[in-house]
């Protein structure tokens, strides 16, 4: 080991995908370069996920979903809160990524991390409350006790906006996972370097494997496969591209998946409600 202490060798982190709690490279072996902000220097080479990576991620999310929604709401809240703690612990890494690849000032980068942490804590609080707030006992004519309760829609595909918006993305992730959905995310190309610290946050938050899966790649290549995937119960894209929105709605028809293509307001209960569906039960009672 002699001599190592004097070494200034920088060990760069290989940024890989995050599927089923593991960090695989793309099965396709492809990559794309991510440049430093306003520079021709390469910050990192990222995995360019293929449709088979997407398929694997969906399979992982599918098998994780029932376990996740059957956790107690209180436990889901704890895990989301834990994510906030781990994001705080990785603050420097996030800030460095934003400064290097997106050209943020350190102040702005810190603000983004602050808002992301706020979002995680906010939605953590809702995990064991949204059902009481939105569930209802319905007046019906007849000898029935009739009530409606919201349940997670299932496996959700999230295509990030074209313009990278970290705190909004985290709010989406938290809003989707807090009621018990599992999630496959395709990160926006320009901010995809955030995959490394973000995946490490998920991997160290007691989040069950497969509940959140992160892919980096090209939206143009993968969005139709995601929208047409019969195993996804919902797909969310709130970017500006009209063509992508229209195609998503068309492809979503095949299995009647919920296509959420309008921006949802962050830090609201309505945001969560975009990713639930309602079950109404008619329970017979005596006269």
């Amino acid at each position: 080991m002699a001599g190592l202490n004097d070494s200034n060798l920088q060990i760069a982190k290989t940024i890989k995908l995050y599927i089923n709690g593991a960090f695989p490279r793309t099965e396709s072996g492809r990559s794309f370069p991510l440049h430093k902000f306003n520079s021709k220097k390469i910050y990192a080479n990222l995995c360019r996920a293929s449709r088979k990576d997407l398929r694997n991620a969906v399979a992982a999310a599918k098998s994780a979903q029932s376990g996740w929604c059957n956790r107690s709401a209180y436990n889901r809240a704890q895990i989301l809160y834990r994510m906030a703690e781990m994001t705080e612990g990785k603050r420097n890494e996030f800030v460095e990524t934003f400064v290097q690849t997106l050209g943020y000032s350190p102040e702005r980068a810190n603000l983004e991390v602050d808002r992301a942490i706020d979002a995680l804590v906010y939605y953590a609080g809702f995990a064991d409350k949204y059902q009481q707030l939105i569930g209802a006992v319905n007046p019906v004519s007849g000898p029935h006790h009739n009530f409606t309760t919201p349940e997670p829609v299932g496996v959700v595909g999230l295509l990030c906006r074209e313009e990278f918006d970290f705190s909004h993305m985290i709010a989406q992730i938290a809003a989707i996972t807090c009621p018990g959905n599992s999630l496959v995310i395709l990160l926006a190309e320009e901010g995809a370097a955030v995959l490394a610290p973000l995946a490490e946050v998920f991997a160290t938050s007691d989040l069950p494997d497969g509940v959140i899966n992160l892919l980096s790649g090209f939206t143009s290549e993968l969005y139709e496969h995601m929208a047409g995937h019969m195993e996804l119960d919902s797909i969310c894209f709130d970017g500006k591209n009209e063509k992508i929105r229209a195609r998503i709605k068309e492809e979503a028809i095949h299995n009647l998946k919920r296509a959420i293509v309008k921006p949802q307001p962050d830090f609201t209960l309505e945001h969560i409600l975009a990713f639930v569906e309602y079950k109404t039960v008619w329970h017979p009672i005596g006269f």
Partner: protein
């Protein structure tokens, strides 16, 4: 590898079973090489259809019921629902999904399967000889086979006596297979080696030779109850044994890997291996079978993807 093993045939003739020691590293290398073939588009579709025709759709659980076996037989006849078939029929070049080769059940369910498959070409296979352990007296094992055959089984999957084999008593292993074969009558006999318990490739090769010499029509890797079940290398060793036996005697023996083949990709790898090691002659349900249950649904998913371009979901298919 114990060399110069001699087996005493009935009538006093003895024959030696000579096999070369097996190079474990190269077997694994070669088996892995068959997973590198790029099978796409129409070839992939053809391979997937072929795989369906080669499946022994299997249920071997303590919890098997008459209803479950009937359901499985329906699935064997019509692997997809009519809605699913109609959706795919809209695509060009769509061919109807074939039925599987056989349904494989416990002896007590043979009559049920026989009845449910009446009028079809699907064969009824039954495991017998106190499957999966085989640890009961020979008399009971033979009775087990007799009952399965008289209930209407076309094919019998027997287990070899691994206890005797591992103790070095190969003569007993051989004699027992001979007796089971006699009881089978016209039913095809598949001999399960349970390779997961045989420990070495040399043992697998030796057990294959004994099973073929004793008159097995098929040799089969595993019961599916012991891990590891079917693997590519172990299947390769057995295929090579079949090929050598064919060169030596002119007799054609079939092969059935079973257990652990769960997805279409693995199944296509097996077809590549059979084709390259044995030639296309063996690529027929008469000589090659997959023992599987969840494999069928995965193949159907891949077929759906090939036609529609969309990934299918589990709810399109039956659960078993």
């Amino acid at each position: 590898m114990p060399n110069g093993i001699t087996i005493q045939k009935h009538g006093g003739v003895s024959f030696p079973i000579l096999t070369e020691p097996i190079d474990e590293v190269m077997v694994i290398e070669r088996a892995t090489s068959f997973t590198k073939r790029s099978i796409k588009k129409q070839s992939k579709l053809d391979a997937l259809y072929k795989c369906i025709e080669m499946i022994d759709l299997t249920t071997l659980e303590g919890a098997d019921t008459v209803g479950k076996v009937k359901q499985l037989c329906t699935k064997a006849r019509f692997p997809v629902t009519s809605e699913f078939a109609e959706e795919l029929a809209r695509y060009k070049n769509f061919q109807p999904i074939p039925s599987v080769a056989a349904v494989c059940v416990y002896p007590s369910m043979v009559a049920t399967a026989r009845e449910a498959l009446k009028g079809t070409k699907i064969r009824v296979a039954s495991v017998a000889t106190a499957f999966p352990a085989g640890q009961v007296p020979l008399k009971t094992r033979l009775k087990d086979v007799k009952d399965a055959v008289s209930a209407g089984a076309d094919e019998i999957d027997m287990v070899i006596n691994r206890g005797a084999f591992l103790a070095g008593d190969f003569q007993t292993v051989y004699d027992e297979i001979i007796q089971v074969k006699e009881v089978c009558g016209s039913a095809h006999l598949k001999v399960i080696l349970e390779t997961g318990e045989l420990a070495t490739f040399d043992n697998v090769r030796l057990a294959s030779e004994i099973a073929m010499e004793a008159g097995g029509d098929f040799i089969k890797t595993s019961t599916g109850k012991v891990a590891p079940a079917a693997t590519m290398p172990v299947t390769l060793v057995m295929l090579q044994a079949i090929l050598d036996f064919y060169d030596r005697t002119g007799k054609i023996i079939g092969m059935k890997p079973a257990g652990g083949i769960r997805n279409a990709k693995q199944a296509v790898h097996y077809l590549c291996m059979v084709n390259e090691v044995m030639g296309s002659m063996w690529l027929t349900p008469e000589l090659f079978r997959f023992g599987a249950s969840s494999l069928l649904n995965d193949i159907l998913k891949q077929i759906y993807k090939q036609f529609t371009g969309r990934y299918a979901y589990d709810k399109s298919f039956s659960l078993d």
